[in-house]
């Protein structure tokens, strides 16, 4: 059986590993014997914990991907970047006006952008990173929030930026400013929060807290899953 499976050889931080063809990088690492404690989160391409940089044979270009989404290739050289030591500003979003000055004051590096677009090329989500930094420079908070919405905060943009901008932290600041100061409040959300604060869920919660593990398991298995709206 093993002889029939096509194998590929990838190099993790320089060390070769032979794994069956068709695995994701993440599964390939586990096949090779690694237990993933860092650089692994949702396994579904949403959390951004498994940003990976790699090169393939005969190509000078650095490529990137999420380890849980990218299929391992023969002669792939890779390293995980589970964490990027980026500048992260502290602020109270309530007290910060949604202006260019707020963004530039906390992250002055954004003005150093040279427009090289490397951030866009490196983004595993294909987000228009350079464009949202341009929007940030001119204080267009709504545009930054919109363009950056799919950001997983994997940090690969910052790892490649020649101007040392921390794009993803700028973007989340803009999304917070947008949500706090610019977005119209959602009336149905406010109504629901009021219902919950008035105790709408208390009885159900108390019942769950009091339930035995067996009952909880039964409840979980029998739970109603709301159909997705089409």
């Amino acid at each position: 059986m093993a002889g029939e499976t096509a194998m590929v050889r990838f190099y993790l931080m320089g060390k070769p590993h032979d794994v069956p063809k068709g695995l994701t990088i993440q599964k390939a690492m586990e096949y090779a014997g690694f237990r993933l404690l860092r650089g692994c989160g949702c396994r579904g391409g949403f959390c951004g914990a498994c940003g990976t940089v790699y090169r393939t044979a005969n190509d000078y270009r650095l490529k990137v991907g999420l380890a849980c989404q990218t299929v391992v290739e023969d002669q792939m050289y890779l390293a995980l970047i589970p964490f990027f030591p980026a500048v992260k500003a502290a602020y109270r979003v309530e007290d910060l006006p949604p202006t260019a000055e707020s963004l530039i004051g906390l992250y002055p590096e954004i003005l150093r952008c040279v427009g090289c677009n490397t951030c866009r090329k490196v983004c595993p989500q294909q987000i228009e990173v350079m464009r949202y930094i341009a929007a940030a420079q001119r204080g267009d908070i709504a545009k930054v929030a919109d363009l950056s919405f799919d950001c997983l905060m994997c940090g690969l943009c910052a790892s490649r930026c020649p101007a040392e901008i921390v794009q993803y932290n700028v973007a989340i600041l803009a999304r917070r400013l947008y949500a706090r100061h610019l977005a119209r409040p959602a009336a149905h959300l406010e109504a629901r929060v009021a219902e919950i604060e008035a105790g709408a869920c208390e009885a159900d919660l108390d019942a769950m807290v009091a339930a035995s593990e067996a009952d909880l398991r039964r409840l979980y298995a029998a739970r109603e899953i709301e159909p997705e709206e089409l």
Binding site: V114, C116, E128
Partner: protein, 296 residues
């Protein structure tokens, strides 16, 4: 007429009065300034290092995005200077053009001509034709045109006007009916971005310009650069109030005057963002004008 338009960061933020008045005035002349769908900062300063191409990347991408029209309109002197000089490098230095276009993964042969709105008014509308379209002539308003540096220099690269004795702003103002005040410092530096590292130095440069213009009888200064406007306007806020309050002189964009003269909605003027509000001067001039009509 439709022209692709690159506003630049400042016209999207601090200098909205420049942007809004220009768009409104252009529209009154049947010129639609079509903002590029996507754009970044041009870099603001033209990169002088001959052995580096990095600073050319952003302006090249901006120019390339207008290649279908072959023409790109801009207003800010910094943007105009950077885009025009970058394009010159791209047309004269094949090696650097190859390097930059390979990097941005776009083909661009340097075919886009960067034009300033003043050039469009002179060459495509024509100052004589413009004079005929003016609905509210600014007769007798004494204005000193101020050019600054980047619109004119380096002259052989900008090919905009005579660097020592320019006349485009004068001719423009005359077409609106204004009384042009000539003064010796109209092509001197306002202090430019020295305002960041040494505000006093920049304020001193600006003060000298303001002083000579006022001595020559100017009621307002007319500019075409957001940084000149900022320095000249703000310099007056910095000087001790008692000494100069009486001599404060508004600094306006040429597009604000054009919008006024073409009878555009005054909402596009945004005079409220000026440090020295031009409105009292304008109403004094209006009073004088109506008084003169009555006595005549």
């Amino acid at each position: 007429m439709r022209i692709p338009y690159f506003p630049g960061c400042t016209l999207h933020s601090k200098a909205r009065n420049f942007d809004a008045s220009a768009r409104a005035a252009a529209l009154a002349l049947d010129i639609v300034m079509e903002e590029l769908p996507e754009w970044t900062c041009c870099g603001a300063a033209f990169p002088m290092a001959a052995d580096s191409a990095m600073g050319l990347v952003a302006p090249t991408r901006i120019l390339a995005s207008a290649k279908e029209a072959g023409k790109l309109l801009t207003l800010c002197s910094f943007c105009y200077n950077t885009l025009k000089r970058t394009n010159r490098v791209l047309t004269t230095d094949a090696e650097r053009r190859r390097k930059v276009t390979t990097f941005i993964e776009e083909e661009y042969e340097g075919t886009v001509r960067t034009v300033h709105l003043l050039e469009v008014l002179r060459d495509e509308v024509g100052f004589e034709a413009l004079a005929k379209r003016v609905t509210k002539r600014l007769d007798g308003l004494k204005l000193a045109p101020y050019y600054g540096c980047l619109l004119l220099r380096p002259a052989d690269e900008m090919e905009f006007d005579d660097p020592e004795r320019p006349s485009i702003l004068e001719n423009f103002l005359e077409s609106l009916g204004c009384q042009v005040v000539d003064f010796p410092h109209k092509t001197e530096c306002c202090g430019s971005f020295v305002a960041v590292s040494s505000p006093e130095t920049a304020a001193a440069c600006s003060a000298r310009i303001l002083e000579t213009a006022t001595k020559c009888g100017a009621e307002m200064l007319v500019v075409s650069c957001p940084l000149c406007q900022y320095n000249l306007d703000r310099a007056q806020r910095a000087v001790p109030v008692g000494r100069t309050r009486a001599r404060q002189v508004p600094v306006v964009y040429f597009t604000q005057l054009l919008a006024l003269a073409l009878g555009c909605d005054e909402a596009c003027l945004h005079f409220d963002v000026h440090a020295v509000d031009p409105r009292p001067r304008l109403s004094a001039w209006l009073d004088r004008k109506s008084g003169a009509t009555v006595t005549a």
